[in-house]
């Protein structure tokens, strides 16, 4: 005989103000199977949970209904209370009388109360048919995949590897390092970016637990948390990395010159190249699009001069597979193209450059020996105008959000300019100065006082040419005057945008992305590094624009999550999955087609008891099944039941109202 306990929560004023809780309790008491019903202010509190535990023992309950907030909030809490009282936690049913009644029917107390009573009746009826379920253990592959070799990917890989967990680090370009390798100095410490990054890069290359796969892309990801299989395409580099010594003879002789992406197109590289001198791995690759041997069958100089014979023009892309348990996505960001700002003459004037181009110019290993120059005539500029919010906070031409880092790096740029060109003068056009991090406001103040840069509050309206100067026109709202600055060089702080491949990658991995292409976190406040798919984590700007301190923090957080996932030898899995009764299965395989996780396969079973003939039935892989219920819906023979939502349970609910 069923003995159900019902616990109805006031939830402070959230439920109590909008429906009559005592009345619900009274109504519920009239159900034959309910042996104990009570109300309480906060069921989720310690005393509240204590009430449940005591009642189970005292009244020998066989199932429990808690009428309160959404199960997403406290189902776990109440299940734990059941366990502690010695009852199987899956004998709990939560009736959501807050999100489903009190919060959405705030103007009609009578109707809200009636609905709450119905919800309780349904929960009671369902709980009577609840079965005792037990968590499933699945094996876990203790290897992590990190996609992206910028500072985020590097940090995550190192942290995971230091915990003696093997890591596969995949990077699209020939070298790891990402955008941070393109920076000169970083705010607020003015550390030399390369100097603090390259040791980490070297650590990655030499770490016994990291398998670095450069010049490669992720092709396919199959499986589920703890049990993924990834296919990676290693792009043909046409250079045998095992024999290559990185001597550089090849690229010194290569006759083909191509715009150098590392230097933002400000100078040229060769068709066979390493992206920058401190590249890891420091082995060149051949750019198949521009190499004359690979496109036209002529030249071949690099092969001739290579003493180790490492050049192999016949090399092909290679597809490799790895088994992994978790993925950290750290694909970084792109810079917005300022072309829509026609009023600034973007694209028409050579002396208008982007912030990353300026960063390359002032870098010691950059195209202009660490000194900013005017692209039009190569002269060193005296008046440099920095314009912020290019594309950011701009619903008309760009994106609505703030890119977070530009205020700080523009301040940094005024300092670098001051150091490199002593008699220069910086002008900064801004709307706000956002300096919210540790030491950031102090950094801005020091920069303003030390460099004497002129700060003008107002968006630039127009840039036009006068002689060989650029006239930058805008309002200085602080004095209410329109000003025109005679500039030698203009630097645009362009918006940070999501990598353009993010949507494709998201589809490949089975995770979501927002309207800007940033990959979606599970919860913006409480779960910022997880995605909605178990086992896949996000680090760095691929989730949203952020600076290096936050990126490194996020990367380490991902590592902690991965380590937590891999802490035991097996992983516990939610037992609310589908099971198939072979007696009813007709072998139609509709469920196989409809399962989004590929969790159902076919199996052969004897036709009848003791028969030698076989027939086809469907079989569910317990580890893969996520309990979505799609198979239950399409099964024509009603052969499938979803534990926790079985046919008897649901029929009970329907009949009870």
């Amino acid at each position: 005989m069923a003995r159900v306990g019902v616990f109805v929560c006031f939830c402070g004023a959230n439920i109590a103000d909008y429906l009559d809780v005592p009345q619900v309790v009274e109504e519920v008491k009239r159900i034959k199977e309910v042996k104990y019903a009570v109300e309480y202010k906060y069921m989720c509190s310690d005393p509240g949970q204590g009430m449940i535990r005591d009642a189970i023992i005292t009244h020998k309950l066989t199932s429990v209904v808690v009428a309160a907030c959404s199960p997403r909030m406290h189902e776990k809490t109440f299940r734990k209370a059941l366990s502690e009282a010695g009852m199987n936690p899956y004998l709990l049913e939560v009736a959501n009388i807050r999100e489903h009644s009190s919060w959405v029917h705030q103007k009609d107390k009578k109707a809200a109360t009636e609905k709450a009573m119905d919800l309780c009746r349904m929960a009671v009826a369902k709980s009577i048919a609840n079965e005792q379920l037990h968590e499933i253990s699945v094996p876990v592959t203790k290897r992590a995949l990190v996609i992206g070799g910028g500072i985020a990917g590097i940090q995550a890989a190192l942290d995971i590897a230091d915990a003696r967990i093997p890591v596969v680090l995949v990077e699209k370009s020939p070298s790891i390092g990402g955008k941070m390798a393109q920076l000169d100095e970083t705010f607020p410490t003015l550390d030399c970016s390369q100097c603090i990054l390259t040791p980490k890069m070297v650590d990655v290359a030499s770490h016994p637990y990291i398998e670095l796969i450069p010049y490669a892309e992720v092709l396919e990801l199959e499986g589920y948390v703890g049990n993924y299989k990834v296919k990676i395409r290693k792009k043909a580099s046409y250079v045998n990395f095992k024999t290559c010594t990185g001597c550089g003879a090849c690229w010194q002789k290569c006759p083909v010159k191509v715009a150098n992406e590392y230097n933002m197109g400000l100078d040229k590289r060769r068709a066979i190249y390493t992206p920058f001198p401190q590249a890891v791995p420091n082995k060149p690759v051949i750019d198949a699009e521009h190499c004359t041997m690979l496109t036209k069958g002529k030249c071949g100089i690099c092969a001739k001069v290579c003493e180790k014979g490492s050049i192999d023009y016949t090399m092909q892309d290679e597809i490799i597979e790895r088994e992994i348990g978790a993925v950290v996505v750290a694909t970084g960001y792109d810079m917005w193209d300022p072309k829509p700002y026609e009023e600034y003459g973007v694209g028409r004037y050579k002396d208008i450059i982007t912030s990353l181009e300026f960063e390359r110019m002032v870098s010691a290993n950059g195209p202009t020996n660490g000194v900013p120059v005017r692209p039009s005539d190569g002269k060193v500029p005296k008046n440099v105008v920095f314009i912020k919010c290019i594309g950011s906070r701009d619903e008309a031409k760009g994106i609505e959000y703030c890119s977070k880092i530009c205020c700080m790096y523009t301040t940094k740029h005024t300092i670098l300019l001051h150091h490199k060109v002593h008699d220069s003068h910086a002008y900064v056009f801004y709307m706000d100065i956002r300096a919210a991090g540790k030491g950031y406001e102090e950094f801005v103040k020091k920069a303003q006082v030390d460099t004497g840069a002129t700060y003008l509050r107002g968006r630039v309206s127009k840039i036009y040419k006068k002689g060989d100067k650029l006239m930058v026109r805008g309002e200085d709202a602080q004095i209410g005057q329109v000003v025109e600055v005679e500039a030698d060089l203009v630097v645009l702080a362009t918006a940070v945008i999501a990598p353009k491949d993010n949507p494709d990658l998201a589809r490949l991995l089975g995770i979501s992305y927002d309207k800007y292409g940033y990959l979606s976190e599970a919860h913006p406040k409480l779960r910022p590094v997880e995605t909605a798919k178990a086992g896949i984590f996000l680090a760095g700007c691929t989730q949203a624009p952020k600076d290096i301190p936050d990126t490194v923090s996020q990367a380490s957080a991902c590592a902690a999550k991965v380590c937590g996932l891999f802490a035991g030898d097996t992983m516990k899995k939610d037992p609310m999955i589908s099971t198939i009764s072979n007696e009813f299965c007709s072998g139609c395989q509709n469920c196989v087609k409809v399962c989004p996780y590929g969790a159902i396969v076919t199996d052969e079973v004897p036709m009848g008891h003791g028969s030698k003939e076989l027939r086809t039935v469907a079989k569910i892989n317990e580890g893969v099944c996520q309990g979505c219920g799609s198979c239950v819906a399409v099964c024509r023979s009603m052969a499938i039941n979803l534990a926790g939502f079985t046919d008897p349970q649901i029929i009970n609910e329907i009949v009870s109202i």
């Binding site: 709307m431 107002g458 968006r459 309206s461 127009k462 209410g480």
Partner: protein, 189 residues
């Protein structure tokens, strides 16, 4: 000095928003319009400040500013506004409200601008088309500047740049009827 918190609901903001179809609250005071506006230096208050004045509910000051009389409706500002606010429409809304409530800026230049428009409209009412020569003459007389642009007259008239007469509409009555109905519609609101 301005005291705030004593005016009650900002009905001025609501009226401007309704008439212009824009939402002045979206303006984040970036100032791009001011550097863009070809006549901002002639205005008492450039466009950005007018926006803030509307947000503060400073109705009289907004009406009496010469800003909306100087606005050329060139739409350069709205083309560059990052929040895509229709600034000329806001200027026009303030100006029309000022005319409705009879708050007219009386500086010499604004009076001249208004006179010009009044004369122009009277030409159309009479002839259905603009009679440029008569309009310029009337303007000079009414602004007591008889010899304005007189130095251009000989060349212009000799070259036939400004016709001596006007070809009025066949249905000049239709125009007068239009004016009357339009005025009635104006009063209906």
């Amino acid at each position: 000095m301005i005291t705030l918190g004593t005016q009650g609901k900002n009905t001025f903001l609501e009226a401007v928003n309704e008439k212009s179809g824009a939402n002045v609250l979206e303006c984040y005071q970036c100032g791009k319009c001011v550097g863009t506006c070809p006549v901002s230096q002639y205005m008492d208050f450039p466009p950005r400040e007018i926006m803030q004045m509307i947000k503060l509910g400073l109705k009289n000051e907004s009406y009496m500013a010469n800003s909306h009389w100087f606005c050329l409706t060139c739409s350069a500002c709205s083309g560059r506004c990052p929040r895509e606010i229709d600034i000329p429409a806001v200027m026009e809304a303030v100006r029309h409200l000022a005319i409705e409530e009879n708050y007219l800026n009386t500086s010499t230049k604004v009076k001249e601008i208004r006179k010009f428009h009044e004369i122009f409209l009277s030409m159309i009412k009479r002839y259905g088309r603009n009679y440029e020569l008569r309009m310029m003459a009337e303007f000079n007389i009414r602004t007591r500047n008889l010899f304005k642009d007189m130095h251009l007259a000989p060349k212009a008239l000799l070259k036939g740049k400004i016709p001596l007469g006007v070809k009025p509409l066949k249905s000049a009555k239709a125009i007068r009827r239009m004016y009357a109905i339009a005025e009635k519609l104006e009063k209906k609101k």
